[in-house]
Every structure is written in C-alpha cells, then in structure tokens.
Amino acid sequence: MTTASAEKTAENGAGEEGYNFAYLDEQTKRMIRRCILKAVAVPGYQVPFGGREMPLPYGWGTGGMQVTASIIGHDDTLKVIDQGADDTTNAVNIRRFFARTAAVDTTEVTAEASIVQTRHRVPEDPMTEGQILVYQVPQPEPLRKLEPREIECRKMHAYKEYGLMQVSLYEDIARFGEIATSYSYPVMVNDRYLMSPTPIPKFDNPKMHDFPALQLFGAGREKRIYAIPPFTKVKSLDFDDHPFEVQQWEENCALCGAEDTFLDEVILDDRGGKMYVCSDSHYCARRRAEGHRGTLSDSAAAAYAAAVGAADRPSEDGESAEWVT
C-alpha cells in the first residue's frame, strides 16, 4: 500500500511529472492484468473490473486506455486508430496521452506496432502473433438492447440462453428480408459466450475469427474487460439459409484503388458528388506509396491528402514514416 509514492516519481524519467508510468498506479495495473488473464482464460466472458477515472471522458476510450496502460512497457510501440484512421482527433489525443505519460514510441504502421488501440475498426493489414489489438468498448453487453437488466443479462450468459438474440435477427429478416445490423454485429466466441464486437462494422467481423494477435476489449464506463485469445473461433450469428454477409462496395478506393477494404464516403459538394476512400488511412497511404492508384488524379489526391492532413505529414513524434513518398 505504501509503494505507490515511489512509483509516482516517474522512474523512467520520461513520463509526465508527478504521475506513474502510463498514468495508472502499479496496484491498479496489476488488478487490471489479473482481470485480463481471467478474460483470456474465458474467451468472450465479460469480467467486471474496478475501472478508474481517467483524465479523458467516459465514452472516449477510457476502457481501452486502462487496458493499454496496464499492458504497455517501455519497449512497446503504440498505434492508435479511430474509425480506422491514425489522424482523427480522438486517436491523436490518446496517442498524445501515452506519448506524454509513458514516453513510448508511436507509429502509424500496423506491422510495426506491438499494441494497437482501436475504436470502431480492425486494421486492414494483417496482424501477427505477439501483437495485441485493444478495442475501446462503449457498451460491452450484446444483450442490452433486448434486456436492459444487468441481473437478467448475466443469467442469460451464465445459462447460455441466447434464443432472444436470434429472435432479433429473425425479426430483421421478417421485416427487411435481411439481417439489418451493420455494425456491433453479435458474435459467438469459442461456441460459448455471446459477445459484442464493439461498434466495428460487420465488415471486420470475419477478421476476428482465428486472429493471430491477442484481442482485448476494455469498457471503462461499464467496467468490463473481455478478450479473444489468438486463434479462437469467432462466429457471427446468422441463419443457415441467411448466412452472415459483409458489406460490399460497387466502387473502389478513389486514392489507392483497393477493392477489398472498408470505404469511407467522402462528400465532394452539395449536389450529391462523392467519392470513396479507404477508412484505414495507413493502409491506403502504404498502397499509394507502393504505386497503386485509384480513379482520382495524383494532383487531386495530393490536394485531398493535404486537406485532411492524412498522408504526407510527419507523425507527431517527429519521425517521418518510411512509407511516405
């Protein structure tokens, strides 16, 4: 109980003055790591944990941050994305937080990161064994929309009573002719626990299955942690005669020409003009650096990149990313 005062002086000499390495005190980190171990041992099960107040608001990634803060070390390299992009305000802000409190290296290159913290996307580039993907979770309970009561939800998980979830999919097909859930699409993990994949688009669901990297999920406000260990079965719910399908676009990425990525719609004017670009900003920039081109001319693409501050910009730790042309 008295060790924390020693911890408070940032021993690494690099973190924020007056705060421990990666903000949380070591006791809290140990508590969270124990919860993570439990979560890994019971894939898909929501482990309650004593979530702490973080200096960012609830709903802005406090759960993911606590998980990251508990597992990050001096040698780690961190990538933070929001909506697939490294340069959205919230991603920048969280990356700044760890650069400031933990003084770790940051990167935008998926393959270089040892930890990737994400909100709403799984990176397009494959992740490998040894990497960790940390998801920020606003609502960990996949049954919440059907059953607002926590006590009843926990019973349904404990008894594996998931008929009601299937009813909601049935209702979609009866009403719309298809399962009208496009994100937060529920999955069964390891044939046992129903799990919310967080609001990633269902496009990303198949990536979770048999994923080589460890997937950790942190919900700060709801104080739950859950996990998918590497190479675990993750199945999106469906019907035999209405199998799970992912979104498809008729268009390709206007910048890099990719045909198989999740695309953001970019409104060009107020007369319905639009184009589509990869939501994963790093993936798109890398492909362009490799010479891939979409329909947009080079000069227009450069103008776009300059406007969104996406590609041709040094990352904030001052290192120019290698793939930038």
């Binding site: 404990a158 008929g163 299937q166 049935y170 097909i173 019907f239 035999d240």
Partner: protein, 256 residues
C-alpha cells in the same frame, strides 16, 4: 403407470399468510386437471409452485423428466428449471402481456422457443410458426405483425401457439379465457379442447369459471382458503357436489 407429476404435502406461506396448505395429488400424461375456487383461494400460488416459478415453503413437486424419471423439480438448478419451462412445459397466463413479447412479431413469438433450443434455419422456423398459427386458427397474413396490435382473443391464441411449438407434455394455464368476451371465450375453449385431445397434452388449468372447468377438465380440485376441499371427476364434482363450499359454488352459477 407412473404419473407425469406427483405433488406431496405442498404448502406455501407469504409471511404469516398461508396461501396454500398441504396439497397432494398426481397427474397422469394426457390428463387435464382443473383447479377451481374463488379469487384469493390460493389457486395461482399453487400454480406458480407447480410450474417451478415459486419455491414452496414445504412439500415436494416431482415431475417425470425425460430420461430421468420422477424428479423433485426444486432440486434442479435454475438453468435446468428455465429449460424445462421453455421445452417440456408451457405456461399460458391470463394476461398475454406476461406471456408474449409484445413488440416481437407473431412469427418471432412462436419461433423463439425453437431458436432457444438451437433452430437456425429461418425458413424452417417460419414454416413451423405458420403451421402453429394455422392450428390456433390465426390469419397467416398477420405473421409479421406484433401482438400489441392484436385483439385479446388473438393474443391468447398466439400465446398458446408459442407454448405448444416445442411439443410440451404439460401446460399450465391461469384463467386462459379470463377477460375475453363470451363468444371469443367459447371459440378459444373449443380450440383448447381440440388441441389438448389431439396432442394428448396434460394440463393444469386454474379458473374461477366452472363452465371452463367442465369443458376442459377431466378431474377437478376445489380450493378454499388455501386448502383442497373436494376432488373428483369433473362431472361428479359438478353434478353431485359433497362439500358445502362446492355446493355453494355450483349453485351460484348458471348450470351448463
């Protein structure tokens, strides 16, 4: 033949108030037992104790579980009881709101039990739902409508279909025709009588309405102040009541 359900010395008290006291009986497969008495006589408490939804203060409720034989249902774990309630048993409540999901379509309501036990083929689930909706004489055009828009009689028929879809052997009914118009009641009773015979269902029906009891029940239990005062074959009890309370009950309603 061993009974489907055996009840021994069942009592339940709410604090000092003894709601039902020392009740014993046996129920065989395909048999319909009517429990009659005025409101406050402990009928509903008894039904809740029998259907694994209220742990009795005293006594034993045994049920012939598939593959396990007669088993005290209160020795089962909660998930086992919940599974029993949505597979081998059915519960039809007086207020359809308690027994239906009012915002889920009729088809979804019927299909829920199938999906709960693992059905994953939309077309087959829907076909089964349609079959059951026709069996309870519902318009198939309403299959995608939510029961909140249905009449009381239709809601009750839907509740029955929703319960029977897993082919239960025992159904508990609490005033299944209560609150309905007389003509609607008559149609529903006809339907219930037909289904019970056709499916060889056992049922325990709680009602204050002796006409319902006469139409549906093979045997009757008459309750007063939490106690059973008279039992016997339905015709016997209604045509030749022995206990003064039964006599009063019978004489206070029009003969049917």
């Amino acid at each position: 033949m061993s009974p489907l359900m055996r009840v021994h010395s069942l009592s339940h008290a709410f604090g000092n108030l003894l709601a039902c006291s020392d009740i014993s009986f046996e129920l065989h497969g395909g048999e319909v037992l009517g429990v009659v008495g005025e409101s406050g006589s402990g009928k509903t408490t008894l039904l809740n104790c029998l259907s694994a939804r209220l742990t009795p203060t005293n006594g034993i409720v045994e049920y012939d579980l598939r593959g396990r034989g007669l088993t005290d249902i209160y020795t089962l774990s909660e998930p086992e009881r919940r599974l029993l309630l949505r597979t081998d048993w059915g519960v039809v409540t007086q207020n359809p709101r308690d027994g239906l999901r009012m915002g889920v379509s009729a088809g979804g309501n019927v299909g829920e039990r199938l999906m709960a036990v693992g059905a994953r083929h939309y077309g087959e689930i829907r076909q089964e739902a349609e079959d059951w909706l026709s069996k309870v004489e519902m318009d198939l055009g309403r299959i995608d409508d939510a029961p909140k828009h249905f009449s009381g009689g239709m809601q009750q028929r839907l509740q029955i279909a929703r319960n029977l879809v897993t082919k239960p052997r025992l159904v508990f009914m609490d005033e299944p025709t209560g609150g309905l118009d007389v003509s609607v009641q008559a149609r529903l009773l006809d339907l219930l009588r037909g289904l019970v015979r056709e499916l060889n269902l056992a049922a325990i029906i709680v009602t204050h309405d002796l006409a319902v009891a006469r139409l549906l029940a093979d045997r009757l239990m008459v309750m007063k102040d939490g106690k059973v005062v008279e039992t016997g074959l339905t015709d016997q009890v209604l045509d030749d009541p022995h206990h003064p309370y039964t006599q009063l009950l019978v004489s206070s309603v029009l003969q049917v």
